[in-house]
Amino acid sequence: LELQLQTRESDAGRRGLRSGLLGLGGAVAGVALRPVAAGIDVGRRAERELREAVLTRAEAAALAAFDALLVSRLADEIVDRALASPLARRAVERALAGPLVEAIEQLLADGVLDQTVARVLEGPELERVVESALDSAAMERLVVRVIESSLLEEAVERLLQTDELWLMVDEIARSPAVAEAIQRQSLGFADEVAGGMRSRSRRIDDRLESGARRVFRRKPRVPPAPEGSGG
């Protein structure tokens, strides 16, 4: 039994010694490998930054090239030729003959478009967009430029030359709503004039009366008190 106990103690001592040696080795290895790990991190970071820089430059270059393409005559020429080519016509014909139209019809029949429009109109997003557009200085500048330009004058002149406008004006002038509004306005003005006449005539009444009472040496007239006023 003693022999067995001694054997167990010696095994435990060996295991503790081994684990201590392993921990010491790990700590030494960690300290030794720390510069290596830092070097790897630096390398990764540099690679990431380089990649982002390259991508940003590439995007900017692509956009600049696209802008240059859009403003160039070449783009106009390409679009004109593409539209004039039979390819465009065939593409449109195929698109119209294909399932696209049916899909759009199905969407319309399902009321998806109505719902979308209603959602957009009723939602706060449209209001926010409109408000921000109206509040923006760019919109103000745009409106000022439109008003100051000759475009507006030309548009008004053209509008005044159209017969439809005058037909519409005649229709509006003959409408019962407008006639009623004019009548109401006239009555309001007449009431206003009559009201002014009343107040002035009553002031004259009081002056005439006080003058006459002074001449006849009578006491000023006491306006009748409200009935049942409690005294």
Partner: protein
């Protein structure tokens, strides 16, 4: 206690303006009708005796028109168009009701009589506590502010009593 607004008796200037408006309406209608009748007669060859009779009849119609104008309005709403513009109303002094035809006719006759001595019959309006002229005293009437007068609504003057409410004797 219930606070009932006292009637506001109307003065000489207000009543004179209202009467002038009524006179303008009566005269305008008479002139238009008389002109139409005169033009119609001018194309007809009317003997001179008949012409005089026509003029007499026109005068009688004009008198009848004036009388009917005042009596009708005083007996119905108590307001002639002129009174309506000025926001005043003729009513019986005892109970505030519109006049009966006999009383309206009496008031009109008394009004004419009051105007004859250089309008002296209207001077009591200036000194009477209820602003009555001779014709009002004879017919037992008063002239008060109309309840729907806008000046009363905005508080410029106290509101008149509604029709039917007894007025101060």
């Amino acid at each position: 206690m219930i606070d009932v607004a006292a009637p506001e008796y109307e003065g000489l200037a207000t009543r004179a303006i209202a009467f002038a408006l009524d006179a303008a309406i009566i005269s305008g209608v008479a002139v238009v009708v008389g002109a139409a009748a005169g033009i119609s007669l001018s194309v007809l060859s009317v003997p001179s005796g008949v012409e005089a009779a026509v003029f007499a009849a026109a005068g009688a119609v004009c008198l009848l028109w004036s009388t009917a104008y005042f009596v009708t309005f005083w007996c119905t709403t108590g307001q002639t168009p002129g009174n309506r513009v000025l926001g005043i109303r003729v009513c019986r002094a005892d109970d505030g009701q519109p006049l009966r035809p006999a009383r309206a006719l009496l008031r009109l006759i008394a009004l004419t009589l009051a105007a004859i001595p250089l309008f002296a019959g209207f001077l009591p309006i200036l000194v009477d506590d209820r602003r009555r002229g001779v014709h009002d005293m004879i017919a037992g009437t008063v002239v008060v502010g109309s309840p729907d007068d806008i000046d009363h609504v905005v508080g410029d003057a106290p509101a008149a009593g509604p029709p039917g409410r007894p007025l101060r004797r």
